[in-house]
């Protein structure tokens, strides 16, 4: 009896780590796009899921993933540009129009997706079969391990790129004060284009890669948006380490509770608790975009 419990605990822990790592990665993409466009991109999750949906239409999983991501990048670029443009058109304090633009795209893409998926959940086979023996923990699907290792690596890479390189400094400066940056001789469209494209590309990649693990349905877009927003709000928009670690912690909480509770109940509890925490936080230290 104890034997089984001991076996389950590490499995659950790793499961949480896996779930948390790609949730955290998606949240980071969300944070970057939000900082760059100065507006919450409601369509973020939906675009990522569009990429995942496109992948399912392709013969080869890997080619499909890459192609879908390459297709989504320009979509993210388009949305980002229009959002930035409209926040310059309207007078400074109006945030409604930029948000409305990403909202419009959200409607369009969600509708396209519900036509493509028609209420069913799609869960293909793992593209890489087989199991990995992790010592005492036992066997774990190779694919899952690979995907989470990739997420972790990407996270480290992004952090390093943003905080330890010159280009990273320029990109972070463009989030802060792009007007000042342009007077220093930097063409600010470059970091902005980069962020829009790369964040959307990565989010599509993450969604495609994790489809065999969690499945694909119409609601997933909103799910990604909500989880990303949650992590970014709690961890701090500018602090990607917090966001990622928070993702892992929350992933653990989710997985651990899901062993004896219905996962939907777990999600409900997590969301409710998080809403409570957010309200308390906001009352103490009001945060705005």
């Amino acid at each position: 009896m104890l034997d089984e419990v001991l076996k389950i605990i590490p499995q659950v822990l790793i499961g949480g780590l896996i779930f948390g790592s790609y949730t955290g990665l998606l949240a980071i993409g969300f944070a970057l796009i939000t900082q760059s466009s100065k507006s919450i991109n409601i369509a973020y999750g939906s675009v990522a899921v569009l990429g995942a949906a496109i992948t399912t239409y392709m013969q080869n999983f890997w080619v499909g993933t890459l192609t879908a991501a390459l297709l989504c990048g320009p979509i993210g670029l388009c949305i980002g540009f229009l959002v930035r443009r409209s926040s310059k058109l309207s007078h400074d304090s109006s945030y409604v129009y930029p948000l409305a633009i990403s909202f419009g795209f959200f409607l369009i893409i969600q509708e396209i997706e519900s036509n493509m998926m028609a209420g069913s959940t799609y869960k293909p086979e793992y593209p890489i079969g087989g199991y990995v023996d992790i010592g005492i923990i036992g066997l774990y699907p190779t694919y899952t391990i690979l995907v989470s290792a990739l997420s972790l690596m990407l996270f480290v890479f992004i952090w390093f790129f943003l905080y330890k390189t010159k280009i990273g400094t320029i990109i972070r400066a463009s989030f802060n004060n792009s007007e000042l940056l342009s007077t220093l001789g930097v063409d600010v469209t470059i970091p902005i284009v980069l962020i829009f494209f790369v964040s959307t590309f990565l989010s599509s990649l993450a969604a495609s890669l994790t489809t065999p693990i969690i499945g694909l349905d119409v609601e997933r877009g909103l799910n990604i948006l909500l989880w990303s927003f949650l992590l970014v709000f709690l961890g701090g928009m500018k602090n990607i380490i917090n966001t990622f670690v928070g993702g892992i912690l929350l992933g653990e909480a989710y997985f651990i509770s899901a062993t004896w509770l219905d996962p939907r109940v777990v999600e409900f509890i997590i969301f409710t608790v998080v809403i409570g925490v957010m309200v308390i936080r906001q009352k103490r230290v009001p945060v705005e975009l």
Binding site: F175, E179, S182, T183, L184, G185
Partner: protein
């Protein structure tokens, strides 16, 4: 003629802010642009820097027409701009702010380090706090950071928007000396907008005064200091 501004009209939406501004800055000069609040001094600098394109008029830098150019290209020509507010990157560290000086790529590594050390000697607190976030500095310290990181760069014309505002008298004097120094030693021309007219006139060669979107007064700083008209235009006693 280093900078020649001719009859520029700038609008913010429907507001006609600059209604035909004309002036010039010669090589090696320090020129100050004075006036009360809201007359369009900041807008003038922003128009020159390309942040707000003018609807009419021309701006020539070393004979080259630059009106309508984007700011980053204007910067590359050798014009540097220090704004009045939003003048630093709050979430970057002090050191990262300093690393983003204009045209830093054009100077060699040794020269860069030498300039950095000079700046650290002038303002030791920047060295002490170099890994702290710029947002943790006080208002005056941020002002110093923005001016210091500009000085690390390479440029021929410096546009300053109210550089002395918010600085203590000691620091103001320090900056006045600094500006005079780069003007005399390196021949850098300076166009400075200020509300603190006396401090500006102490280092400037010439001055212009703006009112309601146009230039209404021009004189050498010597005669300006003695002028009664100046007092009424600025609404202060010098």
């Amino acid at each position: 003629m280093l900078l020649e501004v001719n009859n520029i009209h700038t609008y913010y939406g429907d507001s006609h802010i600059l209604q035909g501004v004309s002036f010039d800055v010669q090589e090696g000069e320090i020129v100050c642009l004075l006036g009360r609040n809201g007359v369009g001094k900041t807008t003038t600098l922003k128009t020159i820097m390309g942040l707000v394109p003018p609807k009419q008029g021309s701006i020539k830098f070393k004979g080259l027409e630059i009106s309508g150019w984007p700011p980053h290209l204007i910067s590359k020509l050798g014009i540097s701009y220090v704004p009045q507010e939003r003048h630093i990157f709050p979430e970057l560290t002090v050191m990262e702010n300093l690393s983003l000086a204009p045209n830093l790529g054009k100077i060699s590594r040794e020269l860069r380090n030498q300039k950095l050390n000079e700046v650290f000697d002038l303002f030791p607190f920047l060295k002490e706090r170099k890994n702290q976030l710029a947002s943790s500095l006080s208002g005056g310290e941020q002002r110093i950071l923005s001016l210091a990181s500009t000085l690390l760069g390479e440029f021929k014309l410096l546009l300053l928007d109210e550089p002395f505002t918010g600085l203590s008298p000691l620091l103001t004097a320090k900056f006045q000396r600094l500006l005079k120094q780069i003007n005399e030693e390196k021949g850098i021309s300076i166009l400075l907008v200020e509300q603190r007219a006396l401090q500006a006139l102490e280092i400037a060669n010439r001055c212009y005064i703006m009112n309601k979107g146009v230039i209404v007064f021009e004189a050498s700083s010597e005669s300006a200091k003695k002028s009664d008209e100046l007092r009424s235009l600025l609404g202060v006693r010098l």
